[in-house]
């Protein structure tokens, strides 16, 4: 039976982990390759790199990091951030990424997803969606450019369309929950998992291990993504898995 996945996510800026991590015995806590290695050893089901490097000149550093990670970690690797050209996808895949996540570029031109999926297969095209609730209109809206621009597009309509064009997986981040440590927006996640037939990764808001359980049980997510609870050594991946297993979740 297919297992629920736990995915630690690293924000990478100019080749360094943003805000660092807090692992003891780690030579360089800001080196994404070393941190990915720790998660590999802890039994993470996948690792996600989000490249937030602003300048185009430094974009190449992420390829180098992906290449080095694939040399030492034999686990699935998803990479996103600033992916706007088919060439970016190709280079990331050849560097050793298994999946590439596309955000703003997919919103700007939905056919980018269709083209990318036709070329490389749906299985490696993840569409990342930053969603924020509009209470007045009782809907969630798609934000782009790292959450700075509100497109006013209805998230539920968008995900249906983008999946029909070939997205192989959705990474849904609730901007309302991100950074709050109060759990995923499971109502949003559940509404999405109800209408699409591709795997959904829940993101944004994890503050404890019960939140991971809730993402699977209440949100029906296929995978749960978290950053700070793992980076700062509050919990290991193994502890998270044990906790989830004890609560009836099928983990590896």
């Amino acid at each position: 039976m297919l297992k629920s996945r736990i995915i630690p996510c690293l924000d990478v800026n100019n080749g360094r982990v943003v805000k660092g991590t807090n692992f003891v015995n780690l030579r360089d806590a800001g080196d994404p390759v070393e941190v990915a290695k720790i998660y590999d050893e802890q039994g993470a089901d996948e690792v996600c790199f989000l490249d937030i490097t602003a300048s185009h000149e430094n974009r190449d550093t992420i390829y180098d990091i992906v290449r080095k990670t694939a040399e030492v970690c034999f686990m699935p690797l998803t990479v996103g951030g600033g992916v706007s050209k088919i060439e970016h996808i190709r280079t990331l895949l050849l560097s050793g990424a298994d999946k590439v996540s596309v955000n703003s570029a997919a919103v700007k031109d939905n056919n980018f997803v269709r083209y990318a999926a036709d070329k490389y297969g749906s299985q490696c095209i993840v569409v990342a969606v930053d969603a924020k609730k509009n209470d007045a209109q009782n809907k969630w809206e798609v934000y782009t450019h790292g959450g700075r621009i509100n497109t006013e597009i209805d998230v539920l309509h968008y995900v249906e369309r983008i999946v029909s064009l070939g997205a192989g997986e959705l990474l849904i981040t609730s901007m309302d929950k991100d950074g709050t440590r109060s759990g995923f927006d499971n109502i949003l996640i559940k509404q999405i998992t109800d209408i699409v037939n591709v795997p959904v990764i829940a993101s944004g808001g994890v503050g404890n291990l019960q939140h991971l359980v809730d993402g699977i049980k209440l949100g029906h997510a296929d995978a749960v993504l978290a950053a700070s609870i793992f980076h700062f050594g509050e919990y290991t991946i193994n502890e998270a898995k044990q906790y989830m297993k004890e609560r009836g979740i099928n983990v590896r």
Partner: protein, 215 residues
């Protein structure tokens, strides 16, 4: 020295596959060189051949056919000379007679069967993506040191699967809605749907078994 060739035809997982084989090879007693095969002449140098594959069936087939003389040389090496062969993911699917992904495309026809869409039942998500357990249909050296049932969990990501014509060619399966082919084998040929290069320790063990295998 033994040379293991990994066919480099632009498939996405070539880097990861090469690194995984190098990682396994460095700890073995026999001296092994990993060679990226880029033309037909390279095939002749190799003792074992690996065909990785990510993407669509027809694109992978086209990628191989586009390398001058590669496919006929490969067939001679595997079918006539009997060199051990491992196909990974689409590299395994290409062993079938025919693939139905996108437009209908003929495969190598080395192992009788077809590649068709995973049957969908209510609530089943496509692609089949993530970690799943495999069961062994019969004993094989490729499973040496791996435990049957719940312990052998490997990473899958695919929407199409290999339907074997002959049950004897089916070595391992996983459950995803229905029984899905995970490992096939015939004579000196092995194919796996999952990604050993991405399946952590178990995947590396599988690769080690392939390197040590004498069909």
């Amino acid at each position: 020295m033994e040379i293991i060739g990994i066919i480099d035809y632009g498939s996405g997982n070539i880097h990861s596959a090469t690194k995984a084989f190098e990682n396994v090879a460095k700890d073995l007693k026999k001296e092994i060189k990993i060679l990226r095969i880029q033309n037909a002449a390279d095939i002749k140098l190799c003792d074992r051949i690996v065909l990785p594959g990510v993407g669509a069936f027809k694109d992978c087939k086209a990628g191989l056919v586009n390398i001058d003389g590669l496919v006929p040389t490969l067939e001679k090496k595997i079918l006539d000379a009997g060199a051990p062969f491992l196909g990974i993911c689409v590299g395994m699917q290409l062993l079938a007679d025919i693939g139905f992904e996108g437009e209908t495309t003929p495969g190598f026809g080395w192992i009788p069967g077809v590649v068709d869409k995973i049957p969908t039942t209510a609530g089943l998500k496509i692609p089949h993506m993530g970690w799943n357990t495999i069961r062994f249909n019969r004993a094989h050296s490729i499973f040496s040191g791996l435990e049957d049932k719940e312990k052998t969990i490997v990473y899958f990501v695919h929407s199409y699967y290999f339907q074997v014509k002959k049950m004897e060619d089916l070595l391992g399966v996983c459950d995803y809605g229905s029984e899905i082919t995970a490992v096939i084998g015939k004579d000196n040929i092995i194919g796996c749907q999952f990604h050993p290069e991405k399946s952590q320790k178990i995947g590396l063990k599988f690769i080690k078994n392939f390197i040590n295998w004498s069909p």
